[in-house]
């Protein structure tokens, strides 16, 4: 099953991936990263590998696997 | 051949691959000459939309590793200062020709030497110098334009040809093919596409703490090297002259005639003609101080090179000045009368 990996320390907290995931599988973390922001995290669930999150990420922080 | 054409031919002989210009009198013959010759020889000529665009096109061609030139006259050279400063900062070679006219402002289209300060003190923003060559004949316009390309490449710094409307328009017979070959050097820093190497970056932005200071120190070291190696001047009778004229460019021709007039009447008169206005020939002037009691600086300005002569003389002799402005050209009689009054 496809999945994504978010580099939490690269995340600047814009959350554009959160609103662009068609299945709402990306959430905001409750803990801070090294930048002091709450990074986006993959919540698991049925990822279709549509890559929308990675496409919109301005910081190159998301890799999509099949 | 007129001076402007000779300048263009010097560039063609030096292997100039790119020229961008913009019309302004009294350098228009040069742009027209380049339009003809660059196309004939399969090189690039562009009539730019402005002097700003012209110098920045030259920036691009130089960054790509090609010999490039632009030319203009005083008001246009003011516009080019931005690009020239960037080129020094980015260590890009190019040749800029200034066929000076009267100023300030739109001024007039008559010859002038009012851009001396702008040429030798930097001209744009930041701490920098250009190699400034001042030809005084049509032949020299060709020869020094040719030389300017070699010097620019050698130091990765723009070089400036400082002429004026008189020289640009003057017709003289010249020898075009001297048989000297241009000194092309490798430019591993040039932008050619990064095939087989890491990317090349051309930049003048250094934001890190102290990095820009280091870059400036490196530039200053180059300027010191130029000062040690590139000073050029012509001297006449300076070993035994009590009165020494100092003049450059077209005025030097008139001053020389005045000097000869004075010598024919028994006056111990000599002359120094700086060929490089920067680096300035301080030593030639210092040496002339051994015999000279008085210097007479002659310029088509309110007295700009005068300041550099005073610095070089450093109080060892009296320094007098005769100048005309706004397109006025000193006559040999006027200069001779000043020599007589000094003696």
């Amino acid at each position: 099953m496809p999945k994504i990996k978010i580099d939490k320390d690269r995340c600047k907290g814009c959350y554009l991936c959160v609103v662009n995931c068609p299945n709402g599988l990306i959430k905001v973390s409750k803990t801070l990263n090294v930048k002091g922001v709450k990074p986006a995290v993959f919540s698991g669930g049925k990822c279709t590998g549509c890559k929308m999150c990675a496409v919109i990420c301005p910081d190159g922080g998301i890799i999509v696997y099949k | 051949m007129c001076g402007n054409d000779a300048c263009g031919e010097g560039a063609v002989l030096a292997g100039c691959r790119f020229y961008a210009g913009y019309p302004i009198t009294p350098q228009n013959e040069l742009t027209a000459y380049m339009a003809k010759r660059m196309n004939e020889t399969g090189r690039v000529f562009i009539q730019a939309e402005s002097e700003l665009a012209a110098i920045n096109m030259v920036f691009g061609a130089a960054a790509a590793g090609m010999r490039a030139m632009t030319s203009s006259s005083s008001p246009g050279i003011s516009l080019k200062q931005e690009g020239i400063s960037y080129m020094v900062g980015c260590e890009l070679p190019c040749v800029v020709v200034n066929v000076q006219r009267g100023g300030p402002g739109l001024g007039n289209i008559a010859p002038s030497q009012g851009d001396y300060f702008q040429s030798v003190k930097g001209g744009g923003h930041g701490d920098y110098k250009l190699i400034v060559l001042a030809p005084s004949s049509v032949q020299e316009l060709l020869d020094y334009t040719f030389l300017a390309f070699d010097l620019a490449d050698k130091y990765r710094n723009p070089a400036l040809i400082l002429g004026d409307g008189l020289l640009g328009q003057m017709m003289e017979p010249i020898q075009i093919d001297s048989g000297i070959q241009p000194k092309f050097i490798d430019k591993p820093w040039a932008l050619t596409g990064c095939k087989g190497r890491g990317p090349n970056i051309i930049k003048s932005l250094y934001l890190g703490d102290g990095v820009l200071e280091e870059h400036n120190k490196k530039l200053q070291e180059k300027f010191i090297l130029m000062k040690e190696s590139e000073v050029r001047a012509e001297t006449f009778h300076t070993k035994d002259s009590e009165i020494v004229l100092v003049a450059y460019g077209s005025v030097a021709r008139i001053a020389k005639a005045a000097m000869e007039m004075a010598r024919s009447r028994g006056k111990k008169c000599g002359m120094i003609r700086p060929i490089t206005l920067w680096p300035f020939p301080d030593k030639a002037i210092e040496e002339a101080c051994n015999a000279a009691r008085k210097f007479l600086v002659v310029e088509m300005s309110a007295g700009q090179m005068l300041e550099d002569v005073r610095l070089a003389v450093n109080g060892r002799a009296k320094v007098d000045f005769y100048g005309r402005m706004g397109g006025g050209v000193p006559t040999e009689t006027e200069i001779f009368q000043r020599i007589e009054a000094m003696a």
Partner: protein
């Protein structure tokens, strides 16, 4: 075609792609022409996306070793810290003139400029119009976020009517500051322009469209078709005083209604 030596470039900071087992394949990662370093842009800034799209197009055409880029003055001035190919700076707005100089002496290289709206639509208006009018065979990537970002959010020529900026604190007044400039529509009347498209990066779908436009623009140059330009509407959450999501919505609902998306000219 993948350049052989790209793995020798400094990619040290990029998180290594962990292959959990042999059947795992990567569906999406960053293009090789983009250094694996973090960018300096604010959260939600569109520059990071556009940088990547440019690199993706370059990698797909296999032209990394032929590319010479001209970086602007503005937020993207240090683009060469992110791009793994030859780059030069240019003075503010002179970018298309510099690109002209490069392309004319190196016609076999692929030359593009990357400019913001202050650089291209204000101080560099003469340079862009005349490069376009000469039909220079170069590609322009024009990132339009409607403000001067690097200097602190001042009004740009492209700032919308009523928009608050550091220099229009009560909003841009059309009487006082004039109208926002539609550069592509202006350039479209010039016979020298061959491909002009406006895209946006406010959503993933629009990013994919932007990618196609940028690829097309490079293809035009590769095929020696002439002047190509893509205007990218981009978010500046910091100086729009919004969250990145609000900024993306603003492009969708407001900015793109004034600056219509789509192909403006193609021939």
């Amino acid at each position: 075609m993948r350049p052989k030596n790209r793995k020798t470039k400094k990619r040290k900071n990029y998180p290594a792609i962990k292959q959990s087992n042999d059947t795992t394949t990567v569906l999406f990662s960053q293009p090789a022409s983009l250094y694996a370093v973090e960018n300096h842009y604010c959260a939600g800034c569109g520059h990071g996306i556009v940088h990547r799209l440019v690199c993706e197009a370059i990698d797909e055409f296999g032209i990394r070793e032929r590319v010479i880029a001209v970086a602007p003055v503005g937020c993207a001035v240090i683009a060469y810290d992110y791009w793994n190919f030859d780059v030069t700076e240019a003075a503010h707005g002179r970018t298309p003139a510099v690109a002209t100089g490069i392309k004319r002496v190196r016609p076999n290289n692929i030359v593009f400029t990357y400019q913001g709206d202050g650089d291209l639509a204000a101080i560099g208006t003469a340079e862009i119009i005349h490069a376009a009018n000469r039909g220079e065979n170069i590609t322009i990537i024009f990132v339009n976020n409607g403000v001067y970002g690097m200097t602190g959010g001042q009004m740009a020529p492209t700032t919308l009517a009523g928009q608050r900026t550091a220099t229009t604190i009560h909003g841009r007044s059309l009487r006082r500051e004039g109208y926002p400039i539609k550069i592509l529509e202006m350039l479209a009347v010039l016979p020298g322009t061959k491909y002009l498209e406006r895209v946006s990066v406010h959503s993933a779908h629009e990013v994919l469209r932007a990618k196609r436009a940028i690829s097309k623009a490079f293809k035009m140059q590769i095929d020696n078709k002439g002047f190509s330009m893509v205007e990218v509407l981009s978010m500046c959450p910091t100086y729009w005083d919004m969250t990145p999501i609000q900024a993306a919505d603003r492009i969708k609902n407001e900015v793109s209604t004034f600056y219509p998306l789509g192909v403006i000219k193609s021939c």
